[in-house]
């Protein structure tokens, strides 16, 4: 099976996020002044334009906001995978991320909105790891 599509660099906004995945750390940003949680990563807070942001590490626990089980993706990395779940997960720290739900016997039956999930990693040959979730 072909490699999954990888994040590509240089891309300064998301590079620190992906660097941290090499150590299996899931990072997000917080505005030091307002406490706003910023995700996807970028240099400024989209609520106010401030660049006074800091990186924090998530505990990796969250709730499935919504999901879909993909039956047809012609991309070589996914074409042979069988049905797989893409999902938005709301992390307990207050950010929502696109991800996959893995380690379920049947994604069409074993995933539901509101389900508690925890972080796990798909290590890649490029050195990074892709953060995904499994039932908590």
């Amino acid at each position: 099976m072909a490699d999954r599509p990888q994040p590509r660099f240089p891309e300064p906004d998301t590079q620190p996020f992906w660097e941290a995945t090499k150590e299996h750390r899931l990072l997000y940003q917080v505005d030091r002044d307002t406490g706003d949680v910023v995700f996807f990563p970028r240099r400024h807070n989209p609520k106010n334009g401030s660049s006074n942001l800091e990186w924090r590490e998530s505990k990796g626990l969250g709730t499935v906001y919504t999901f879909s089980v993909v039956r047809l993706n012609r991309h070589p990395a996914f074409a042979e995978l069988g049905p797989y779940a893409v999902a938005y997960v709301d992390l307990d720290e207050g950010f929502r991320m696109l991800t996959n739900i893995v380690n379920v016997a049947d994604p069409t039956r074993d995933i539901h909105i509101g389900q508690r999930v925890k972080l796990t990693w798909l290590d890649q040959s490029t050195g990074i790891a892709i953060p995904v979730f499994e039932p908590a």
Partner: protein, 397 residues
């Protein structure tokens, strides 16, 4: 009867008749559609002084397209916001005409998505070009465009109890309209649809699942095609061949992923109220609703956000026989057959304006009796993530 401002009118339309056009370029489609739309209006090539295009084509499209056509426009607008670009263009053309910047605005679209075998809905992960923050956060996960919309459908079902059967009614009504439209029947034939006929709710929910909970028949086609629309100032419109269809309201809005956002609400919830206020009409007065049907869920969400029913009540709203052209209940939906069953070359927005205009002229193949008011609402981008909403409200004299 309210008296809206009537600053600009659609006076010419043309929809490229083929959905499979090998050997033709998108530029050639645009030029042919432009000539035919001007002919429809009774205007000529040299009358065009405003050019609006979503820059699908070569780089610096505003310049290269003007040169290819042979125009020297006073106004060039290459706003590119996906499938709703043409509703944005219509809004901008009206604004530019009202400001005296141009008198004859030409909107063009052409695409060879089918002949290029572009897997728009079912290919995800990593494209060419420079990476962006968003691409780096999405490419690894295999989110196809269809699964993106499917996640909205799943959440809508969870929050409001909407069912696949209710969504299917949108596809059923749209197919019924398509079967009355010879171009749509030809399109389905050329694109090798199986079993071309009116369909039932059971047909839709029993069709192959593509991305839960969206089935094959919840999804639009990928065709070739294109079109053009001519919008003119009142003094020009008066002398055109066909009766003018006035742009009486417009709204534009964006929406994108945010922590905590309710993804069952689209940009239409912002663009709609702006358009209604300007037009000074209400949803229950609308005879024909041309709503972007990339997928059945797109229509359901937008009917709610545009105020045809309350949020969460779309399932019950479309469960009645309301959507057919011959129903006593308003509005009729996508009377040309829609993107689901007639024409979707990647961006459908221009066809919403074209069919709404046909209805208000009395030229539709599924003509609503005495249609006076129509809405065209385009959606661009990805409904669960970043997308645009463009709303245009149209009235005949």
């Amino acid at each position: 009867m309210v008296t809206q401002r009537r600053d600009a009118a659609i006076v010419g339309i043309y929809e490229y008749p083929k959905r499979k056009a090998p050997g033709v370029t998108s530029l050639q489609i645009k030029a042919e559609c432009a000539a035919r739309a001007l002919e429809d209006a009774g205007l000529s090539w040299k009358d065009v002084d405003g050019l609006y295009d979503a820059q699908d084509g070569a780089g610096m499209a505003g310049l290269s397209l003007a040169e290819y056509f042979g125009f020297r426009p006073n106004v060039i607008d290459t706003t590119a916001v996906g499938g709703s670009s043409y509703e944005f263009h219509a809004a901008h053309a009206k604004r530019d005409i009202a400001a005296g910047r141009c008198k004859v605005a030409l909107l063009t679209y052409g695409s060879t998505a089918h002949s290029d075998a572009r897997r728009i809905g079912t290919m995800a992960g990593g494209g060419p070009g420079a990476p962006s923050p968003l691409s780096n956060m999405t490419d690894p996960y295999g989110m196809t465009l269809i699964s993106n919309y499917a996640m909205v459908a799943r959440r809508h079902m969870h929050q409001y109890g909407t069912t696949s059967e209710q969504l299917a009614r949108i596809a059923v009504a749209t197919r019924a309209h398509a079967m009355r439209n010879p171009q749509a029947v030809q399109a389905m034939t050329d694109l090798e649809f199986q079993d071309i006929r009116e369909i039932t709710v059971e047909d839709v929910v029993n069709s192959r699942m593509i991305a839960d909970p969206l089935h094959l028949l919840d999804c639009c086609m990928v065709s070739d095609g294109g079109g053009a629309v001519v919008i003119a100032a009142p003094e020009v419109a008066r002398d055109c061949r066909k009766r003018p269809v006035w742009i009486i309201g417009s709204g534009e809005a964006t929406s994108y992923s945010e922590n905590g956002r309710d993804i069952t609400v689209s940009a239409a919830a912002q663009s709609g109220p702006r358009a209604w206020a300007e037009a000074d009409v209400r949803p229950d007065e609308i005879d024909v609703a041309m709503i972007y049907d990339s997928f059945t869920i797109t229509v359901l969400v937008m009917l709610e956000d545009l105020g045809f029913c309350r949020k969460g009540e779309g399932g019950a709203f479309v469960s009645e026989q309301r959507l057919r052209f011959d129903s006593p209940l308003k509005p009729a939906l996508n009377t040309d057959g829609g993107g689901l069953s007639s024409n979707h070359p990647g961006m459908r927005g221009i066809f919403l304006l074209i069919e709404a205009t046909r209805q208000l002229r009395g030229e539709s193949t599924s003509q609503v009796a005495d249609a006076r008011l129509a809405i065209a609402h385009g959606n661009g981008g990805m409904l669960a993530t970043s997308h645009t909403g463009g709303t245009i409200i149209l009235a005949r004299d």
